[in-house]
């Protein structure tokens, strides 16, 4: 019991929780923006992979770290645009299109990586983002190491939550995005473009998802591995439902998830000899399913989610 307390009271535990949560924050906010506009984006898993690969490769080719972040976002936006065109003006099944985008983005990323680096045995490394050393704040006892020794991308993720919340709830654009996911014909009758809003939201959301991937190769690790995204995208889709499509709750959900994951990794070192490692590795996926079950009854889906809109149709 005291072991568990020790884990929870260590600053590096909370630092790890925030680090694990960072890609999920990008992913959940990205998924939330798409879904608030009425489009489920199951391309997320592939977009994570594309962001991870594109960002890493840009840095490896000498673009600089922030150049890599930009390239990752553009790659995400590109695949988001494909999904948006297929599902918004063409009105195709969002489920199948999303799976298609995931397969396409993943295989294209792997193919480009393998073609650019045909025979490397160990993946080449880049100089990744380093933890920021913020004067005074980073030196605070406990809070300093827990909160203020993260890389710039973690702070970017937190800023993204604030900006998304502000845009969604405090600007006319946000009102229009939320409305287009609830009642698109009402938006059309206001003279706004349903297609424009939905396509824009999906492209922007996908760019955010790609930043989650970029965090993996440019901050959590410093190289690209096959299969490194490992279901994080799907976990984000589950967390979006858990967060009932609200940015604040999305942040909370991702942090909770990060804390749980950090906790079970530490627990594993305590009791690892009794329980096979795979049991611990299953936890994030089972936890995501549990989160879905928990909120299933009261999940308040955007009313026009999954429903294609055709102009002039009531």
């Amino acid at each position: 019991m005291s072991d568990i307390l020790d884990i929870l009271l260590a600053a590096n535990f909370w630092a790890a929780a925030l680090r694990i949560a960072t890609p999920l924050i990008f992913g959940v906010i990205g998924a939330l923006v798409c879904e608030r506009a009425g489009v489920l984006n199951l391309g997320i898993e592939g977009i994570f992979t594309a962001g991870a690969m594109a960002g890493w490769m840009a840095v490896w080719l000498g673009a600089g770290l922030w150049g890599g972040v930009l390239v990752a976002a553009l790659a995400g936006g590109f695949f988001g645009l494909i999904h948006a065109i297929l599902t918004v003006p063409l009105g195709l099944s969002q489920h199948v299109s999303g799976i298609g985008v995931t397969l396409f983005a993943t295989s294209l990323s792997y193919f480009i990586y393998r073609t650019a680096l045909p025979d490397v045995s160990s993946p080449p490394r880049i100089e990744a983002f380093k933890p920021l050393d913020i004067p005074i704040l980073s030196d605070l006892p406990f809070i300093g190491p827990a909160l203020f020794q993260q890389t710039a991308l973690t702070f970017l993720a937190l800023a993204v939550v604030l900006v998304t919340a502000f845009v969604l709830y405090r600007t006319p654009l946000g009102l229009a995005i939320r409305a287009v996911g609830d009642n698109p014909s009402a938006v059309e009758s206001q003279g706004l473009s349903v297609y424009g809003l939905r396509i824009g939201a999906v492209v922007a959301g996908s760019a955010l998802m790609a930043l989650g991937g970029a965090f993996l190769t440019m901050s959590a690790f410093d190289a690209f591995f096959f299969g490194m995204v490992n279901g994080r995208g799907w976990i984000c889709i589950a967390l979006t439902v858990f967060a009932s499509w609200r940015p604040g709750k999305a942040l909370l959900g991702a942090l909770l998830f990060g804390a749980f994951d950090a906790f079970q990794v530490r627990l594993q070192t305590e009791v690892g000899s009794f329980i096979p490692g795979q049991v611990f590795l299953m936890m994030p996926y089972l936890l995501s399913i549990a989160a879905l079950v928990l909120v299933a009854r009261k999940a308040d889906y955007p009313r026009a989610l999954l429903v294609p809109y055709f102009r002039g149709q009531r």
Partner: protein, 360 residues
């Protein structure tokens, strides 16, 4: 401005033309990554064709690869017909394979005519039970099955790894995480001497005919189609929607489980954690290319299998990455989605003013 005018009913020629066009578009688009990799495009296509069809061996390899794809394709096609989004065929395949080795590696000693049906049944049952979970969560609690089936794929693969490193590890396996070999009496028979093609293909073809008859000729099939068209309307018409979802979930999972049985009991002879190179996900592409038609699934699986086998062979000859095959398959899915529009709609490009007038 694009307008879609519904076409009813879709003619048979369009039904065939659309997926064939999509397949050709995907193959043509493959020229871009091949050129990017510095290949001579015509030579590369030639190598792919000979790799899949160039010899009896190549052809049987293609059929061997198509076997699990037919079954996972059927799993997706049947489920999608009812709009039950089973994206978990990959996990169900592994569950089927795990059940097959659990039963078929020596626990029960029996002659072939007992053991083979038992192995097949247990594999199908395991796959079906894995899909039963997400189906019940959907019907009882309204949990979206897309995410649960996707997440379960990871859980099941980890479970298989755990078993292969623990309880079911082959003590004679030189430390490799693999199961004990299937008993000879539990192995599906080979269909040709010195080739890898096995009885799983017969199972897959029978399953395709079975699913076709189920959908076309039975009350259950009628109910499945009705639920897929409009679940609410079906409920009002007195169709047992919940029971239909559960039946579809069980059968769909069982079909994917059979794919796993074929791979261990017919092809590999034992189970490893890298049994499937994504057959579950490719099955979705097969199903979509087939327009969710069970007989079409067989044809689409042959096409996807020839892409995989052909690209593998081309990859070995030229050194270009065999992720090219996955790329072509992904592009085939996207192009069949788009060309499917031409099946259901007459697509007309009209002037803005005309369109607005028509919308009023």
């Amino acid at each position: 401005m694009i307008r879609f005018e519904p076409l009813e009913p879709a003619s048979l020629s369009r039904l065939i033309l659309v997926p064939v066009t999509a397949a050709l578009i995907a193959l043509a688009l493959a020229a871009i990554p091949m050129a990017f990799a510095g290949l001579n495009i015509f030579k590369a296509y030639g190598l792919m064709a000979t790799g899949a069809f160039g010899s009896l061996f190549a052809f049987t390899e293609m059929l061997t690869r198509a076997t699990p794809l037919i079954l996972t394709g059927l799993a997706a096609a049947l489920a999608f017909r009812a709009k039950l989004w089973n994206i978990g065929a990959e996990g169900q395949l592994y569950a089927g394979a795990l059940a097959a080795v659990a039963v078929g590696t020596g626990v029960i000693d029996a002659p072939s005519f007992v053991l083979i049906p038992l192995v097949v049944f247990c594999g199908a049952l395991a796959g079906g039970l894995v899909m039963l979970g997400p189906t019940l969560l959907k019907t009882r609690l309204g949990v979206d099955e897309v995410v649960t089936t996707l997440l379960l794929n990871f859980v099941i693969l980890l479970f298989v790894q755990m078993m292969l490193e623990g309880a079911m590890k082959d003590p004679m396996g030189m430390g490799w995480p693999q199961s004990e070999p299937m008993l000879d009496a539990a192995a599906l028979p080979k269909l040709m001497a010195r080739m890898r093609i096995h009885g799983g293909l017969i199972v897959a073809l029978v399953a395709a005919i079975g699913v076709y008859l189920l959908l076309k000729r039975t009350v259950w099939g009628f109910e499945i189609r009705a639920v897929g068209e409009n679940a609410n309307a079906a409920r009002h018409a007195g169709i047992p929607v919940t029971a239909t979802f559960i039946r579809v979930g069980l059968i769909s999972g069982a079909l994917a489980g059979l794919a796993g049985v074929g791979e261990v009991a017919g092809l590999k002879g034992y189970l490893t954690a890298d049994l499937s190179p994504g057959f579950g996900y490719s099955g979705i592409v097969v199903a979509m290319l087939a327009g969710l038609n069970p007989i079409g699934v067989v044809v689409a699986a042959l096409f996807i299998a020839s892409i995989f086998v052909g690209a593998d062979s081309m990859s070995r000859a030229t050194g270009v990455s065999n992720y090219l095959a996955d790329l072509i398959v992904a592009m085939a899915l996207i192009s069949v989605l788009v060309s499917g529009l031409f099946l259901r709609f007459k697509v007309r490009f009209v002037g803005q003013r005309h369109a607005e007038g028509a919308a009023k």
